[in-house]
C-alpha cells in the first residue's frame, strides 16, 4: 500500500465514480463515510511503519514516483490528512441538507485529492500546478451547465489562474536567492512575485471582489466549501515556503507584509460585513476575515503562530459549514437574500436563522464559540508584539459583531402575532443542530481538538518548534 494512492489517487477515482450517482442522500452518506474512513486511517494507521493484523502484515509506503518526481506523504502529515478528510466528511454529510450533494461530493473528492497532492508533491513549488487543477475542477461545481455563468465565476477563474505563473516563477527565483544570499535585488524581486501569487490565490485585498460576487450567484454551501478548502491548503503551502527558506522566515519585511495583509483582510472584511445588507455577502466577508486571521497567525513568532494557525482550521471548517448551510436553507425560502426579503425569517426557519447567527458570532470571536480560543490566543500574541495591530484587529472583529447583530435584528423582525412555523426538513434540522452544538463544544472545550492538532507542526522542519 502507498500513502499517495490512498489519499490522492483513491479519492480522485472515487470522485469520478460518484459522478454516476444522482441520489442526494446516497451521495452524501457514501461520500461522508468514505471521507471519514480516510480520516480515521490517516489518524490511526501510521505511515512507513510495518503493522500486522492477525496473520496479515502491511506497511503504508510514503512516496510515489510520477514522471521523475515524487508525491511524498510523510508520517508527520498523518494528522493533517485526518484533519482535512475529517472536515471534508463534515461538509459531505451536510451536503444532502443543502441539496448540493450531486455536485459537491464527486467534484469535492477530486478537488480534495488534488489539494492533498499539492501538499505531497516534491519539490513543493509544483503545488501551484495541482492547486490550479483543483480550481479548474471547481468551475463545474460552482455553475450549472443549464444557467449562464456569472461575472463572479469568470473573475474567480481569472484571478486564481493568474496566481500559478507568479508562484512558479517566484519558486525558481527563490532558488537563485538561496544560491546567492547577498543579491538583495533578486530577493526583492522573488518576494514580490511570491507576494503577488499568494495575493491572487488567497484573494487578498483588493483581489477578493470575486468572493462577494460569487456569494450572490452560486450555492452558498458549495462556495463555503471552496472558501474553506482553498485558503486552508494555500496557507499550508505558503507556510512551506517559510519552512524551506530561512531568509524568508527571518525577514522582518515579510512579517510586516503578512501582518498588513492580514489586518487589511480583517478590517475590510469586518467593515464591509457591518455595512452589508445581503446575508450571503456577509458570509463571504466573514470568510475573507477568516483568511486574514490565518495570515496574522503566520506573521507572529512562528513558534506560537503555527499552533494558532492550526487551531484556526477546525473552527473555520465547522463555522463556515454551519454558516453556509444556514444561508443555503434561508435562500430556498426567500426571494432574495437582501435584508428586506429576509425580514422575520426566523419564525419560519429557526434552525437556519440560529445557525447563521451563531456561526457569524463564532467568526467574530464571540466567547464560548469555536472561533474564540484561537482568536483570543492570536489577539494576545499580536497585542504583545504590536498594540496598534491589536487595535485594528479589534475594529475588524467589531465590524463582524455588528453584522451578526444586524442580521439577528432583521431575521427576528417579524410582524406581531406571527406564529412559529418551522419549514426546515428533518435532515436540515439535525445537521444544523449538530453543527451548532459542535461550535459550542469547540468553544467551551477547545482542548478536545488538541489531540488531533498537537502533532501538526511536526510536518514542518523549522516552524512551530
Amino acid at each position: 500500500m502507498n500513502a499517495p494512492y490512498i489519499w490522492i489517487v483513491f479519492p480522485i477515482g472515487i470522485g469520478i465514480l460518484l459522478l454516476l450517482i444522482s441520489n442526494q442522500r446516497a451521495l452524501s452518506l457514501l461520500g461522508g463515510v468514505i471521507a471519514l474512513l480516510l480520516a480515521v486511517i490517516a489518524q490511526f494507521v501510521p505511515i512507513e511503519l510495518a503493522m500486522s493484523v492477525g496473520s496479515i502484515s502491511f506497511k503504508i509506503d510514503s512516496s510515489l514516483t510520477i514522471l521523475g518526481r515524487t508525491l511524498l506523504l510523510q508520517p508527520a502529515e498523518g494528522p493533517l490528512l485526518a484533519l482535512i478528510y475529517g472536515a471534508v466528511a463534515l461538509w459531505f454529510f451536510g451536503a444532502e441538507a443543502s441539496k448540493a450533494a450531486t455536485r459537491l461530493v464527486p467534484i469535492g473528492f477530486m478537488i480534495t485529492g488534488l489539494l492533498v497532492a499539492s501538499i505531497a508533491v516534491e519539490p513543493f513549488l509544483y503545488a501551484a500546478l495541482f492547486i490550479e487543477m483543483a480550481i479548474l475542477l471547481a468551475i463545474p461545481m460552482l455553475t450549472s451547465i443549464y444557467h449562464p455563468p456569472s461575472r463572479g465565476v469568470s473573475r474567480f477563474l481569472i484571478y486564481q489562474t493568474l496566481a500559478m505563473p507568479f508562484i512558479l516563477l517566484a519558486g525558481w527565483l527563490l532558488g537563485g536567492v538561496e544560491a546567492s544570499p547577498g543579491d538583495l535585488a533578486l530577493a526583492g524581486q522573488s518576494a514580490s512575485m511570491l507576494g503577488l501569487g499568494f495575493a491572487f490565490l488567497l484573494a487578498i485585498f483588493p483581489l477578493y471582489n470575486w468572493v462577494p460576487l460569487l456569494s450572490e450567484e452560486v450555492s452558498p454551501y458549495i462556495l463555503g466549501f471552496l472558501l474553506w478548502i482553498l485558503p486552508t491548503i494555500t496557507i499550508i503551502f505558503s507556510a512551506s515556503f517559510l519552512d524551506r527558506y530561512s531568509w524568508l522566515r527571518s525577514s522582518p519585511q515579510l512579517t510586516i507584509a503578512l501582518r498588513l495583509a492580514g489586518l487589511l483582510m480583517i478590517v475590510t472584511g469586518g467593515l464591509f460585513a457591518a455595512f452589508q445588507r445581503h446575508l450571503a455577502r456577509i458570509m463571504s466577508y466573514g470568510a475573507i476575515a477568516e483568511t486574514g486571521f490565518s495570515l496574522l497567525a503566520l506573521s507572529l513568532n512562528l513558534r506560537l503562530g503555527i499552533p494558532i494557525l492550526f487551531l484556526l482550521i477546525p473552527a473555520r471548517a465547522l463555522g463556515l459549514a454551519v454558516w453556509s448551510l444556514s444561508v443555503t436553507v434561508i435562500k430556498e425560502q426567500v426571494e432574495t437574500m437582501r435584508f428586506g426579503a429576509a425580514r422575520g425569517v426566523l419564525r419560519i426557519l429557526p434552525f437556519a436563522g440560529a445557525g447563521m447567527i451563531i456561526a457569524t458570532l463564532s467568526t467574530s470571536a464571540f466567547p464560548l464559540l469555536a472561533g474564540f480560543p484561537a482568536r483570543l490566543a492570536l489577539w494576545e500574541e499580536l497585542a504583545r508584539e504590536s498594540i496598534s495591530s491589536g487595535f485594528w484587529m479589534a475594529i475588524g472583529i467589531v465590524g463582524l459583531l455588528i453584522s451578526a447583530f444586524r442580521s439577528l435584528a432583521v431575521i427576528s423582525m417579524a410582524d406581531e402575532y406571527t406564529s412559529w412555523e418551522p419549514r426546515e426538513s428533518m435532515t436540515q434540522r439535525i445537521m444544523l443542530g449538530l453543527g451548532v452544538i459542535g461550535l459550542f463544544i469547540l468553544g467551551i472545550f477547545p482542548q478536545t481538538i488538541q489531540y488531533f492538532l498537537s502533532n501538526l507542526p511536526l510536518m514542518f522542519e523549522h516552524l512551530g518548534r
Binding site: 455553475t143 455563468p149 477563474l157 512558479l168
Partner: protein, 200 residues
C-alpha cells in the same frame, strides 16, 4: 538559424496576439490561437527537446479545437462588449502599442533575471503575457476570457521552459491547458443554455 526562427516566431506571436485583440469573428480567433501555439512551440524549442516542446503544441491545438468545436454549435453572432470603457479597434490597437512599448523596454532586464533565456524567448513570452492580460482587462465574453488566459499561460510557459525542464511540469501544464479549454467549453455551453431552451 535557430535565432532567426526565434525572431520569426516572435513576429508571428506579435501578429496573432494583436489579431486576437482585434478580430470579432470567433473562427479567426481560434485560427489565430492555433497559429500562436505554433510560435510558442518554436520558442520553447530553444530550451526543450523536440519531443517535450511538441507536447505544448499538441495540447494547445487540442485546446483550440475544443473551444472551436464548442463554439461552432451556437449562433454565428458574437457577443457584443458593452460598458462605459472604450473597446473599439483603434483603442485596442493603441493599448497593444503600449504593451509592445513596455515589453521592449523590460525585455533586457527580465532576460538577465531569467538566466539569459535569450531576447527572442523573453520578448516573445512577455509579449504574450502582456497581450493576454490586456485581453482579460477588456472583455467579459467567456470565449475571449479563456483565450486571454491561454495567451497569458503560453507566455509564462515559454519563459518557464527556459529555467525548468521537468517532464512532470510539462505534463501538468498540458493538462492545465486542456482543462482550461474544457472549462471554457463548459462555460460556453452554459452561457448558451437559455438560448437553446428558447429555440426549442
Amino acid at each position: 538559424m535557430a535565432l532567426t526562427f526565434s525572431w520569426i516566431a516572435v513576429v508571428v506571436i506579435l501578429v496573432t496576439s494583436i489579431g486576437l485583440l482585434l478580430v470579432r469573428d470567433w473562427r479567426w480567433s481560434i485560427i489565430l490561437l492555433a497559429v500562436q501555439y505554433l510560435g510558442m512551440f518554436i520558442l520553447t524549442l530553444q530550451h526543450w527537446p523536440f519531443g517535450m516542446a511538441s507536447v505544448k503544441l499538441v495540447a494547445g491545438w487540442m485546446s483550440a479545437a475544443i473551444l472551436g468545436m464548442t463554439r461552432s454549435n451556437y449562433p454565428a453572432h458574437d457577443f457584443e462588449e458593452t460598458g462605459i470603457w472604450p473597446r473599439g479597434r483603434l483603442f485596442r490597437l493603441f493599448a497593444a502599442g503600449i504593451v509592445l512599448l513596455i515589453v521592449s523596454t523590460t525585455t533586457p532586464g527580465v532576460d538577465t533575471i531569467m538566466a539569459d533565456a535569450g531576447y527572442a524567448v523573453t520578448g516573445g513570452s512577455l509579449l504574450l503575457i502582456g497581450m493576454g492580460l490586456l485581453h482579460l482587462g477588456i472583455t467579459s465574453y467567456i470565449l475571449r476570457v479563456v483565450i486571454g488566459l491561454m495567451t497569458v499561460l503560453s507566455g509564462f510557459e515559454i519563459l518557464y521552459s527556459a529555467v525548468e525542464g521537468s517532464i512532470l511540469v510539462a505534463a501538468l501544464l498540458a493538462v492545465i491547458n486542456l482543462g482550461l479549454a474544457l472549462v471554457g467549453a463548459y462555460l460556453l455551453t452554459a452561457e448558451n443554455a437559455l438560448q437553446e431552451v428558447e429555440s426549442e
